[in-house]
Subunit: 74 residues, 6 copies
Amino acid sequence: MFPNDKVKSLIGSKVQIEMKGEKFTLEGTLEIVDDYLNLHLINTTEIVDGERTRALGSVLVRGNNIILVNPVNE
Amino acid sequence: MFPNDKVKSLIGSKVQIEMKGEKFTLEGTLEIVDDYLNLHLINTTEIVDGERTRALGSVLVRGNNIILVNPVNE
Amino acid sequence: MFPNDKVKSLIGSKVQIEMKGEKFTLEGTLEIVDDYLNLHLINTTEIVDGERTRALGSVLVRGNNIILVNPVNE
Amino acid sequence: MFPNDKVKSLIGSKVQIEMKGEKFTLEGTLEIVDDYLNLHLINTTEIVDGERTRALGSVLVRGNNIILVNPVNE
Amino acid sequence: MFPNDKVKSLIGSKVQIEMKGEKFTLEGTLEIVDDYLNLHLINTTEIVDGERTRALGSVLVRGNNIILVNPVNE
Amino acid sequence: MFPNDKVKSLIGSKVQIEMKGEKFTLEGTLEIVDDYLNLHLINTTEIVDGERTRALGSVLVRGNNIILVNPVNE
């Protein structure tokens, strides 16, 4: 499965997304993703240094600023 | 709805935009957005560390430097 | 008006451009802009932490490294 | 062999990936890679300052944020 | 003149190039430039905090990591 | 010669590559390079603050994260 198809297979699941810049993580349910890895998360929480710092709800994430996508095993 | 269509559905609403680099947030009303997530905000305020630091009015934002778009529930 | 058309409508006007990296601002008159937001500013001044630090004259700016474009009301 | 073909030749092998931002390394087995260097790693470990800091399992990595790919000789 | 044509008009002249990342400047003679602002400088000197820190000779610069191009008036 | 052709003319020669992020340099023999400046180096050494810090052997480098390519005169 190609990397982007692998991400698409995670739709409906909980994922962690590590973002560029001052490193932080978003955890949420993957609602949809396009070919550029732009994605829509719902029930999103921001995690900084391992602590849940903010409830963000619904967020749109720009694909080119994603470092990695990590499925969360529940 | 694809991620970019989701952003387009926010036109006319208040949004928060987190930007790359030294992290800061823009809050404003989404006037228009294109396919690259370039967007035009009006009545924009800059927020740094949770404080409203500057009124910026009308700003054009380069899509590739956006980390995430977060709808503001009013 | 699309975001890039909005920027084109500012040709001949004074604008402030916030750049990526160690954050700084360029203020100058917008001479021309292309579809990638590459732009040519004249009479440009560099502003760091609110202070005018250097007169740069004519500068060419790479669009992908622009955070935002802010019209200056004179 | 072109650079991307060289990376494809590493599928099934252990690789180290250095990422942009606050520099860190991912070590894992290369499952698949596409033309943009987006890649899927399995059995992935995060390495910061030479220490194995986290077991990440299966991760999807955005190609444009990769600094370099280094085959691990076992 | 479009921004990239303006840069092409500087071929054979001395230019300063400000680069992304830890900010530094390259000064050299512009030998050639392509449509992505990739450029070849000769007789290049690195400038950090206003001081000439290294003679680099011939360098190839990746366009997407250029912040701005500034003609040097001699 | 266009900038990318200039880099191709360096195949088989020793080059230094300055990378984005926390600035560091790679020195190695240029094995191959593609149109995006993705490149394959062999006998690669990492240089940080002028000191040779690690022997990396064969590495694949993502073109968009290259700041500059500098031929090494031997």
